[in-house]
């Protein structure tokens, strides 16, 4: 059992506080959806877990099992099994997808890296995601459409086999068919590998394919309401504003209970 524990963190970017005294615990096999309006701190949460140096951890700590994740470099966190599928995956000119993934796996596995297994798995994963095989030999995300970039993120997830999967608005830029396929791929991965999953999304459509065990609404850098999938339906009906009006401040005290 792996446990990701976010312990009372306050996070800022360019001296502006985004997350305030934020706590959440996620166990392997659990799927948590983080929802909320734009600019409430959803992406900040996954970025600080990954260790993006653009974000500053003012106080609090993040643990993965008994290790302090927040004291580690980005690459160490990733090698430990933390993965962030990004909202706008970066274009890396001149570095091919194949080289990129091989280097990542060599860094993780060292002498245990097996080239033949890597090629076989990469081939299978590309087929499963219905990606063009030629994309493997193209620069990372260069000239990729929004949908292709998101598929590329899922390809990386499948290859790296992380224990904590964070997907930041993975549904944006996807057509209906691609969304369904990505949803099914994430669920298939979850079924076999039982990672802890954090999904950042605005919409119900992704959660129709990847049903969350817990749904958290973030507002002003804090979780203001937690619940199950029914909370997603409430948001669909009332919108964030309607929901926010109903949520009183004492909800904050209750929100972490499902995970404690």
């Amino acid at each position: 059992m792996n446990i990701l524990k976010i312990d009372n963190i306050t996070v800022s970017i360019e001296e502006k506080v985004i997350l305030k005294d934020f706590s959440l615990t996620i166990k392997s096999g659990e799927i948590h959806a983080i929802m909320g309006q734009n600019g409430t701190g959803k992406s900040t949460l996954v970025r600080i877990i990954m260790g993006d140096p653009a974000y500053k951890l003012e106080s609090g700590k993040i643990y993965f099992n008994d290790q302090e994740l927040s004291a580690m470099s980005v690459d160490k966190r990733a090698r430990l099994g933390v993965f962030l599928g990004m909202q706008m995956p970066t274009e890396v000119d001149g570095v091919t997808n194949a080289d990129f993934l091989r280097t990542a796996l060599v860094n993780r596995d060292g002498k245990d890296f097996k080239l033949y297994s890597f090629i076989k798995k990469l081939d299978e994963s590309v087929d499963q995601l219905q990606m063009n095989k030629e994309m493997i030999h193209r620069s990372v995300n260069k000239g990729f459409s929004g949908g292709e970039r998101k598929k590329n993120e899922i390809l990386q997830m499948k290859m790296l086999e992380p224990k904590v999967v964070m997907l930041d608005e993975i549904d944006s830029g996807l057509d209906v068919d691609s969304l369904k396929m990505i949803g099914e791929e994430v669920i298939a991965y979850h079924k076999v590998n039982k990672p802890a999953i954090i999904l950042v999304t605005h919409y119900k459509r992704l959660l129709d394919y990847i049903k969350p065990d817990f749904v958290h609404i973030i507002s002003d850098g804090k979780i203001v309401k937690s619940g199950d999938f029914s909370l997603v339906l409430e948001i669909e009906e009332e919108g964030y504003k309607g929901l926010k009006n109903r949520v009183s401040i004492d909800c904050v005290a209750k929100v972490n209970k499902p995970n404690e």
Partner: protein
């Protein structure tokens, strides 16, 4: 493959066929090596400099009409000073790849597009540890000529890299295309310079230039590290990507460049 090796004032010709003729011109009372290369058929030619001491060269290259030539020039170690006079005749294309791993270098390169529809595709890659200066002059001496000048350098240690690129399209030369791209990844605090110049006298011309000096972006490094790649490996991967881009070369030449990147760059990352 046709191969010319220049080593300590000696000239060695390897597998040279009828497409290439090479002459060494002795200049009295001068330590400049003059070499004249005439290419009359479509072919691939490698020029490799393996000098141990500082050298001075004047190299004349003539590309005859209606052919396509791939020219690969490799400079390894030592210090160099060189002047190039490259003439490209009608309907000919020169694909010129220059891969350098040297201590000091200074070059003046004249590319003359003499015949209609002549083209030059120029790709230069270097890892700079000391002073390197490149002055490239492209003369569009005929209509419908095209030049694509692409320079890329990684500046490390005590490196200072300088590119001055000028394209001239005189009045009356119609439908020409002049394109210049120069980029330096500067991993030092030293000053690097790129001067892109376009001297266009005719209105029926397409001309572009792009010049950039900088480091790799934090976002690129973060993205690679977020997949478990150590910072030094991430930068190595980015440097390889940067220097290997646009190179349509065989594995031997790519391996040569990759080995030099690993030997020279990695200890500086």
């Amino acid at each position: 493959m046709n191969k010319i090796i220049l080593k300590n004032n000696d000239l060695f010709l390897v597998d040279i066929d009828d497409a290439v003729s090479v002459k060494k011109i002795q200049t009295p009372f001068s330590n400049i090596e003059n070499i004249s290369i005439n290419i009359s058929e479509s072919t691939t030619l490698e020029i490799r400099h393996e000098n141990e001491d500082e050298t001075k060269n004047e190299i004349f290259i003539k590309i005859m009409p209606n052919i396509e030539v791939k020219l690969i020039e490799i400079k390894d170690n030592s210090c160099h000073k060189a002047q190039y006079h490259i003439d490209i005749e009608e309907d000919s294309i020169l694909n010129f790849y220059k891969l350098y791993n040297i201590e000091k270098n200074k070059e003046l390169i004249h590319i003359n597009l003499n015949g209609r529809r002549a083209q030059c595709h120029y790709f230069f890659k270097t890892i700079t540890t000391n002073d390197e200066k490149y002055n490239i002059i492209v003369n569009h001496n005929a209509s419908d000529t095209q030049s694509f000048i692409n320079n890329a350098g990684v500046n490390i240690e005590d490196g200072k890299l300088y590119f001055d690129i000028s394209a001239f399209v005189p009045h009356g030369m119609k439908n020409c295309y002049a394109d210049q791209t120069a980029r330096i990844i500067n991993l030092t605090n030293n000053k690097c310079i790129i001067n892109p110049n376009l001297y266009i006298e005719d209105s029926d011309v397409v001309a572009n230039h792009a010049a950039a000096i900088g480091r790799f972006s934090d976002e690129e490094i973060f993205y690679l590290m977020s997949r478990g790649i150590k910072k030094e490996d991430a930068i190595n991967l980015l440097i390889k990507g940067f220097l290997l881009e646009n190179l349509d070369l065989d594995d031997t030449h790519l391996d040569w460049l990759i080995n030099n990147i690993e030997k020279k760059v990695m200890k500086n990352v």
